[in-house]
């Protein structure tokens, strides 16, 4: 079979000179050469370059299972051989070395004609014991294999940063001296104890200075996480009787804590003491809040520590753009403004929408509606889930309105304002509303919030060793 591909004159690479002319040969033969080439890609590319378009590259290599009859190097008697071959590994080298669509595979075969399988491994093989492969060189098509991307347009410019490539890493912090601020009153101090202990656990060898209100000094010493306890009354002990003036105490605070620190953490959840960190000589400053408000913070936990709605699983403001009106003249840019209407025998829908899809649960809708109670008339509302009315009533005057309703099977939420039959409709202004689903709001306890700040700080500063157990095990 191999002879068929070598019927015409061919270049035998076993005997040819190294200066053979490229791209001119109808057939190039590389008999049992590739297994000795460390750079198989370079060898295959050089040999293939000798072949004319339409011509063939014919290769043979010793078969790992017929020649060496072993699964690893070295091959006895063949010290130059650097690889063992199977048809798959040979083809993989071809595909890796030669550009796709520069060739077609015409033949690949195990050759074992006359092979004596009865011989033991110590006896040199008898019969053919190689792999043969034949490639035909083709003229590459004009198309590429990579996906076609749409013609690119210039990307938009950054608003806050010039177009550039950022090259960034995280700082490796060596934390030897820590300043901890826990200036609150007794209960808040106690809620911060887990976080203070976590600081000690994360930085067991650091010298920790803990600054507390005078009333917490003995407790601070007793919990034993600090090497040094300083007292500083940022607040009066009784804040109900004496005004708080933290900003006015910055200078004495600076004088108190004066030394250099590698890390300073304010462990108060309210941000009123954060200003005390401003002048502290510390490589890293950490606290709860945002750097927009406290620009000196290197590490900040951007959460609001004061929960306003602990029973709100979810809340969404609905604007008037999502609501429909019966009379388009009532729609203004920011509100639906209705001037009143004489009595009619038939109730009319004045506004409706927004058709929000709701899952089952307890809900509250708070319409932002202001009814002109100085004029006679009644304004009715209803809440509909799909086609079923789940709440109905009459609105009287202003004030905050909260309309509870249940959704049992899920469906489209709709809030409507109506006239009442036989009654004039009063003037009103309607600015949408707030839709609230009742449920746990994910509120964090103060001690949990402080622990998150400490963990965040530790992650940022110990980033070179985030997975210590893994690294130490190696």
């Amino acid at each position: 079979m191999l002879k068929r591909f070598l019927a015409q004159p061919y270049l035998d690479l076993a005997t040819a000179s190294a200066t053979a002319e490229g791209g001119t040969h109808g057939a190039v033969y590389a008999p049992a050469l590739l297994q000795d080439e460390a750079d198989y890609r370079g060898a295959l590319q050089r040999w293939f370059a000798l072949v004319a378009v339409g011509g063939r590259l014919v290769l043979t290599v010793p078969h790992a299972f017929l020649d060496a009859r072993q699964d690893r190097l070295p091959v006895p008697g063949h010290p130059r051989q650097v690889r063992l071959y199977t048809p798959a590994s040979l083809l993989a080298e071809i595909e890796e070395a030669l550009a796709p669509n520069s060739y077609r595979l015409r033949w690949l075969a195990d050759r074992d004609a006359g092979y004596d399988y009865a011989l033991d491994r110590a006896t040199p093989p008898v019969g053919q014991h190689d792999i043969a492969l034949v490639l035909e060189r083709i003229a590459p098509p004009a198309w590429e294999l990579a996906p076609l991307l749409p013609a690119a347009i210039p990307p938009p410019a950054q608003n806050f940063e010039p177009a550039r490539t950022r090259i960034e890493t995280m700082a490796a912090g060596r934390i030897c001296r820590i300043l901890l601020l826990k200036l609150d009153h007794l209960g808040d101090f106690i809620m911060g104890v887990p976080a203070m202990r976590a600081v000690r656990a994360h930085f067991p060898d650091a010298h920790i200075t803990l600054v507390v209100g005078e009333w917490n000094a003995s407790l601070a010493r007793r919990i034993g996480i600090a090497d040094k306890v300083l007292t500083f009354d940022a607040f009066p002990r009784n804040t109900a009787e004496i005004p708080v003036d933290i900003a006015g105490k910055i200078a004495p605070f600076d004088a108190l804590v004066g030394a250099h620190y590698d890390l300073a953490i304010d462990l108060r959840t309210f941000d009123d003491t954060r200003v005390l960190l401003g002048n502290v000589d510390a490589a890293h400053k950490a606290g709860i809040g945002h750097r927009g408000r406290h620009p000196f913070l290197d590490i900040f936990l951007p959460i609001d520590p004061v929960a306003e709605a602990v029973d709100h699983a979810w809340a969404e403001d609905i604007g008037i753009a999502e609501l429909h009106v019966a009379d388009s003249r009532t729609r203004g840019p920011f509100e639906i403004h209705f001037n009143g209407m004489a009595a009619d025998e038939v109730a009319q829908t004045l506004t409706w929408g927004p058709y929000r899809s709701l899952v089952p649960g307890e809900y509250l809708f708070q319409p932002f509606v202001d009814v002109d109670s100085t004029r006679a008339g009644q304004l009715a509302y209803d809440i509909v889930i799909d086609v079923e009315r789940v709440a109905y009533g009459v609105l009287d005057g202003g004030g905050e309105i909260s309309l509870p309703f249940d959704v049992t099977k899920g469906g489209q939420f709709e809030f409507r304002l109506w006239t009442v039959s036989g009654e004039p409709a009063p003037a009103f202004r309607f600015q949408g509303g707030r839709l609230i689903k009742r449920g746990a709001g994910g509120t964090l306890h103060q001690s949990e919030t402080l622990m998150l700040l400490v963990e965040l700080t530790a992650m940022r500063l110990r980033s070179a060793n985030l997975f210590p157990a893994r690294n130490e095990a190696r």
Binding site: A38, D39, Y40, R41, G42, E95, E96, A97, L98, A99, P100, L145, A146, P147, L148, L149, P150, A151, A152, I153, P154, P155, P156, A157, Q158, N159, E161, P162, A163, R164, T165, R166, I167, E168, T169, M170, A171, A172, G173, H284, R291, D298, I299, M459, R460, L461, S463, A464, N465, L466, F467, R470, N471, R474
Partner: protein, 176 residues
């Protein structure tokens, strides 16, 4: 000598730095450094890996794409002098293992949320207004993947050399 490992692929092609850039990077690395470069990836990425390794001497650039078991891949990553990857699993693995890592981070996601972490990791990203776009396919990007194509191989090579030499780099603006 410990190898440099290059992981050029993710499973979302909008995160993949262009193959031509990887080729230029590898050429620069080979010129500046005597060790081997190993290219890794999943079996389904082997054709594209061939496109990256093809110009290089097989004794210097080893194509391991699709040829290593997962434990072998982990061992290779652990042994590396440096790992260069995209916003994908191998870069995170290298960071996890404490190996010097250079991550070419595309604009599909916000780098401050999703970068590999550690002071032994350098992340290159493009300041570009369309980021993060959260797209998954390069073909969906109208800007020709500018967030990646405009990160030049020379910058990445410099980052690799600086990281391996222990030279410090700018820290993240919002992260100590």
């Amino acid at each position: 000598m410990r190898p440099i490992v290059v992981a050029p692929f993710s499973h979302s092609d909008i995160r993949d730095w262009p193959a031509a850039h990887f080729r230029t990077l590898i050429a620069r690395l080979l010129a500046a450094w005597d060790g081997e470069v190993h290219v890794v990836g999943a079996p389904g990425q082997a054709i594209r890996a061939g496109d990256i390794v093809r110009p290089f001497d097989a004794t210097r650039v080893v194509n391991d794409c699709g040829r290593l078991t997962w434990p072998d891949t982990i061992d290779l990553i652990r042994s590396a002098a440096c790992v260069i990857g995209n916003n994908s699993g191998i870069a995170h693995l290298a960071a996890f293992e404490g190996v010097p890592t250079v991550c070419v981070f595309g604009g599909a996601h916000q780098r401050l949320e999703w970068r590999p972490i550690g002071s032994h990791v350098v992340t290159l990203s493009r300041a570009i207004a369309c980021s993060p776009c959260h797209l998954h396919h390069a073909a969906a990007c109208p800007y020709g993947l500018a967030c990646l194509t405009e990160i030049g191989p020379d910058l990445v090579c410099d980052a690799v050399e600086r990281l391996m030499a222990g030279i410090s780099t700018e820290t993240f603006a919002d992260a100590a």
